[in-house]
């Protein structure tokens, strides 16, 4: 075939040569990959037998919750669901009036079930606000819980600044000492 003939053929079917060149490049890549892999001290098997242990951090669905002062009127309000996220023992020792215990374990399993339970509770009671308080440490378990609830797209989620220790200092009318 003359050079002119070859050029005409290329113009008529431009994609054929293109795909052929691309395929040849991939073929060369496979040969090079196989060669270099064989030359390795510890070749990577072409087909993985065991599943990989993937180390992806769990997505933390966190939203923004509003900070409340310990003496906020919202805490004792009838339209508010109040949660104490400290341990059952700490809750038994002291808790704010009307607070339900919902222990938060930093190292525990995902809390999706608890979040769903609170969402149902909000729907059932028709509560307008959810207030959470925790141990008041840094980081504060109450704030983390509140952010998790906000991340689950629950609205009007608040946490008490300073947690239980701060609430305890508020005049006794809103507190329960069992």
């Amino acid at each position: 075939m003359t050079e002119q003939g070859a050029q005409e053929k290329n113009v008529a079917r431009p994609w054929k040569g293109l795909v052929r060149d691309a395929a040849l490049t991939v073929l060369l890549a496979i040969v090079l990959a196989a060669g270099t892999n064989m030359a390795r001290a510890k070749p990577l098997p072409w087909i993985q037998a065991e599943p990989y242990e993937i180390l992806v951090p769990c997505p933390e669905v966190m939203g923004e919750a509003t900070e409340l002062a310990p003496d906020s009127s919202l805490i004792g309000d009838k339209s508010t669901l109040l949660f104490d996220v400290r341990s059952a023992k700490e809750y038994a020792e002291w808790h704010a009036a009307g607070a339900k215990n919902q222990p938060f374990d930093w190292l525990g399993p995902p809390v999706d079930a608890e979040v769903r339970m609170i969402a149902r509770e909000v729907a059932r009671t028709g509560a307008k606000n959810v207030v959470v308080y925790g141990d008041g440490d840094d980081p504060d378990s109450g704030r983390e819980w509140a952010r998790m609830l906000a991340g689950a797209r629950l609205k009007n989620i608040h946490y008490v600044l300073g947690g239980a220790p701060a609430l305890r200092k508020v005049p006794a009318k809103e507190q329960v000492n069992p």
Binding site: P57, C58, P59
Partner: protein, 161 residues
Amino acid sequence: MSWRGHAWLGLAARLYLGFVFLMACFHKLLHPDVFALDVATYQFLPLWAINGFALVLPWVELLAGIMLVIGFRVRAASLLVALMMVSFVISLLWALHLDLDMSCGCFASQGATQDDPISWRTIVRDGVWLVQALYVLFFDREPLGVERLVNAVRKRRAAQA
């Protein structure tokens, strides 16, 4: 289509894309086992395909990068780059859909999550590179480079003979 400026614009796009791919293939060629783990992290390919993909892709990137830079079989290289970019964008969209908090793995391993985390920015960046590859593929019909030079020399010799 036959505007001569395409060759120069194409050259700029080719050099940029070529160096991006040469940089991208480096750590993957050196550490295919780490890259295989990166690929697995996307949870996109079936297990049997992960290692083969991790072994071959860096070489395709290297060859395509070299071809783009030196101007050899440029359109085939840009076709490969475009196909790779499409697959990368799909993988990134998949990872975003799964809400995976991970590194892109494009230039470094998952250990460097903070350096190149997956986001819409990563997808836009890959989209821009895809457009560049498509520009070279469709508009740079007479690319500047080694192949054009060799053809010119051949023609001159044929004319002299």
